[in-house]
C-alpha cells in the first residue's frame, strides 16, 4: 500500500468522514486508520461499497488494562490489489455501545452479534442483536473474551429466551432439524419454514460446538498454539495451522526457508484435493448416485493415505511449525506422491465423466440452490462457493503467500451459482491443485525445512489470510507475553453459512443436503 493510494481513498470520502480520521499509518500492504466512533460505520461502508472492498473481519479487543477502552477493528481487502485497510475505533469501557456497521455492510451482521456475545459491546442500530454462540442459558453480563473473565470459569446456567424468526401464513409449517443430525456430521439447528414443498425461510442457529478456542489460545504459548490451530476445523487442519504460523512469523518478521514455502503449498493443495473429493462425493451421494459417491470416497481415502505416508497424519497435522515445516518431502515421498497423483487424476476424470454423463444426477444439480452474484457479494461469500457465483477472488492469487507467487494456476470462475456450478468449480480446482503440486515438486529448492524464530515482542499485530479448501480464512494476532494477547480466527464458514439461508429459498427440503454439501461448511470453524 502506498501513500498515493491511501491519499486517494481519503480524498474520495466526504469531508465529514475524512475529518473523522484521527491517525493513519502504513505498514507493508496495510493501511491503518484510527477513526472517530461516529464515522466508523460510514467510512467502512464507503470503502466497502465505493471501492469494492471485501470485508475480511470485524472484531474487538479488550484493551481496558492498557488504554482503558475496547478497540474495534474492521479489516477490508481492496479489490484487485494486494492491499488492506484496517479501521480502528475505540469503545468506551463504561458506555459499551457503538454505532452498528450492519446497515452499511450487511455481512457485518454476525460479527456484531459475536462481538456482543464475547465482549458485551452492543451495536446500536443492528437489526437483531440476538446471541450467536452463547445462548440458551448463558447468563447476561458475562463475556468470555473480556480480560477479567478467567478461561476456566464455570458459568451458571440461567435460561433466557431465544427469539426465532416467526414466519406465519396459511399453510406455512416449520420443520426444525438438529442439533443432532441423522448422519455423522457436526451439530447445528435449522428451521425451515415451508409452504407446500418450497422452503420460504431458513433460520440457522449455530454455536453448539463453541469451545472457546479464541480464549484458549490466549493462554497457549505460540508453539502450542499451532496444535490448537490444527484443531479449529479438523479437515482444514493444515490451512488453519498455516495461517497461524504465518501470522506469528509475521509478528517477528521472520523469513521462512524457501523449501518450506513450497512444502506448505504442496500440503495445502493435498488438503484441498481430499476435501473437494469429499464434497463432490457427497454431492453425488445426496442425489442417490451411490456408485459415483463411493468412487470419490475411494479417491479421498487414497489422498488421505498419501498424507499419512508423507507426514504420519491423515489430516496433515504436525507438519507446520513456527519457522517452516517439521518435515520436508524426501525423494521416496516425492515419487510416491507423483505416482498417487497420476492415479487420482485419471480416476477423478472417470468419476467426473460418470457424473456429467448421468442425466438424473445433472437434473438434480442444475438450477438447484442458486446463489446470485449480488447475494454472494452482499454476504461476502468466499471460496469455491463465491467463485461459482461469479466472484473472481482467490487468496492464493490475490494475496499470495507461501510459494504461490512462483506457481501458475487458473482460478475457475462460473456464474450460474447453482449446485452444479459449485460442483464444477471444485472439480476444476482438483485438477489445478494436482498441477500446482507437480510444479511445486519440480521447483522446490533444496535446504532446511525450518529455522528457529524468536518469540514475538508483545504489543505487535499481524494477520495472515489463507485460501483453505472452504475459502479465505483469517488469523489475526496481537502479541502478548510469549502467547497471543488476542487471537481472532475467522473460518471461511463464518461468511459462507449465510449463503445457505439464501440459496435454499424456493428449493424443496430434500435438496437441502445437496445445497449444504455443495457449500461444504464447517460448524466447528464457525462456532470456535
Amino acid at each position: 500500500m502506498n501513500e498515493r493510494l491511501m491519499g486517494e481513498i481519503i480524498a474520495s470520502m466526504e469531508e465529514e468522514l475524512a475529518n473523522g480520521i484521527k491517525k493513519t499509518g502504513i505498514k507493508g500492504n496495510h493501511v491503518w486508520m484510527t477513526v472517530e466512533q461516529s464515522v466508523f460505520p460510514k467510512i467502512a461502508g464507503h470503502i466497502h461499497n465505493s471501492w469494492g472492498a471485501t470485508l475480511v473481519s470485524m472484531h474487538a479487543v479488550d484493551n481496558r488494562f492498557i488504554s482503558s477502552d475496547y478497540k474495534l477493528c474492521i479489516i477490508l481487502a481492496l479489490k484487485g490489489e494486494d492491499d488492506f485497510v484496517t479501521l480502528v475505533t475505540s469503545v468506551d469501557s463504561k458506555d459499551t455501545v457503538f454505532p452498528s456497521v450492519t446497515p452499511e455492510i450487511f455481512s457485518a451482521d454476525w460479527y456484531e452479534r459475536e462481538i456482543n456475545d464475547m465482549f458485551g459491546l452492543q451495536a446500536k442500530g443492528h437489526p437483531d442483536l440476538k446471541p450467536l454462540v452463547l445462548y440458551d442459558d448463558w447468563p447476561e453480563g458475562t463475556y468470555p473474551l473480556r480480560k477479567d473473565f478467567a478461561a476456566d470459569s464455570r458459568v451458571l446456567r440461567i435460561p433466557r429466551p431465544y427469539n426465532y424468526r416467526n414466519v406465519e401464513g396459511e399453510g406455512v409449517f416449520v420443520i426444525p432439524v438438529g442439533p443432532v443430525h441423522a448422519g455423522v456430521i457436526e451439530p447445528g439447528h435449522f428451521r425451515f419454514s415451508v409452504a407446500g414443498e418450497p422452503i420460504i425461510d431458513l433460520e440457522l442457529r449455530l454455536g453448539y460446538v463453541h469451545k472457546g478456542i479464541e480464549k484458549i489460545s490466549e493462554r497457549m504459548p505460540y508453539s502450542k498454539g499451532v496444535l490448537l490451530a490444527e484443531r479449529i476445523s479438523g479437515d482444514n487442519s493444515f490451512a488453519h495451522s498455516l495461517a497461524y504460523c504465518q501470522a506469528v512469523e509475521a509478528l517477528c518478521n521472520a523469513k521462512v526457508p524457501e523449501r518450506s514455502r513450497f512444502v506448505r503449498c504442496i500440503f495445502s493443495e493435498l488438503e484441498r484435493i481430499y476435501n473437494h473429493l469429499g464434497d463432490v462425493g457427497g454431492i453425488a451421494l445426496d442425489t442417490a448416485f451411490s456408485i459415483g459417491a463411493q468412487h470419490a470416497y475411494i479417491l479421498r481415502e487414497r489422498v488421505m493415505d498419501i498424507n499419512d505416508l508423507l507426514t504420519g497424519s491423515r489430516f496433515l497435522r504436525g507438519v507446520n511449525c513456527l519457522g517452516g515445516v517439521w518435515k520436508g518431502i524426501d525423494e521416496r515421498g516425492r515419487s510416491k506422491l507423483i505416482e498417487r497423483l497420476v492415479m487420482v487424476k485419471l480416476d477423478f476424470q472417470e468419476f467426473y465423466d460418470e457424473v456429467i454423463g448421468t442425466p438424473s444426477v445433472m437434473d438434480r444439480l442444475e438450477t438447484t440452490g442458486v446463489l446470485s452474484y449480488e447475494a454472494a457479494k452482499d454476504l461476502n461469500i468466499v471460496g469455491p462457493g463465491a467463485r461459482a457465483s461469479g466472484i473472481d477472488r482467490d487468496v492464493r492469487r490475490d494475496h499470495p503467500y507461501a510459494a504461490y507467487r512462483d506457481l501458475s494456476f487458473k482460478v475457475p470462475i462460473l456464474t450460474q451459482g447453482d449446485v452444479n456450478a459449485r460442483f464444477q468449480v471444485k472439480s476444476e480446482e482438483i485438477f489445478e491443485s494436482i498441477s500446482i503440486i507437480e510444479q511445486a515438486l519440480s521447483n522446490m529448492p533444496e535446504g532446511e525445512p525450518r529455522i528457529d524464530i524468536p518469540t514475538p515482542e508483545p504489543g505487535r499485530t499481524a494477520m495472515s489470510l489463507v485460501e483453505s479448501p472452504r475459502g479465505e480464512l483469517l488469523h489475526w494476532i496481537v502479541s502478548g507475553e510469549g502467547k497471543p494477547f488476542r487471537h481472532k480466527i475467522r473460518d471461511a464458514s463464518f461468511h459462507n453459512w449465510r449463503a445457505m439461508e439464501v440459496a435454499v429459498l424456493g428449493n424443496i427440503v430434500p435438496d437441502f443436503p445437496l445445497v449444504n454439501k455443495s457449500f461444504s461448511l464447517s460448524y466447528s470453524g464457525n462456532d470456535l
Binding site: 443432532v180 457436526e186 454455536g207 479438523g234 491423515r314
Partner: protein, 181 residues
Amino acid sequence: MSSSNDELERSGRQLEARIKKAFGRSLAIREVDSGSCNACEVEVNALTNPIFDIERFGLHIVASPRHADALLVTGPVARNMEHALMQTYLATPDHKIVIATGACACSGGIFKDCYATTNGLDKLLPVDVYIPGCPPRPQAIIQGLMVALDKMKEKAGHSTTSSKRLLDNDNGASGVAHDVF
C-alpha cells in the same frame, strides 16, 4: 497398504465374531458429535467408505439413537451440546454402551479447562470404553469397538447405570446444579 489391509481384515473378522456372539445380529451405533473439531467425524465416516467398509463386519451406523446399541461420542462435550447429548443418551435404549472417541471425549483434550467445554465425556455419562487418538484412526475405532463388546459381556452380569439412575443425579458437568435433564 497391503499389510495394513490384512490387519484390518483380521481385526474386522474378530470383531464380527464377537458381535455375532453378543447380539446374533449387527451392532447398531449412533454417533454424537458433542463439539468435535470434525476430524473425529471424518474418521468415523471413513469407517463406512469402501476401503474400511465396516458394514461387512456387522457394524451399522444408524440415524436414530432409538435404534442404537452403542453411543459413539466425539468431542469435549461443549457446554452448548450437553443438553442435546443428554437427550440422545436418554433416547438410546438400555443397556447401552457408551464409547468416548478421541482425546477430546476421553479427557477434554486440548479444549479442557475451558468455560465452554467439559473435561471429558465421563464427567457427564458413564463411559464404557475410551478410544484415544486425535483423531483415532479408523483401525483404532474398530479395535475400541472390540473392547466395547467384551465389556458388554461383562456388563450383562452386573447391574448397569441406567438412564433412570442418571436422571436422579444432579451433578452436571459444569459442577453446578442446572436443569438440563
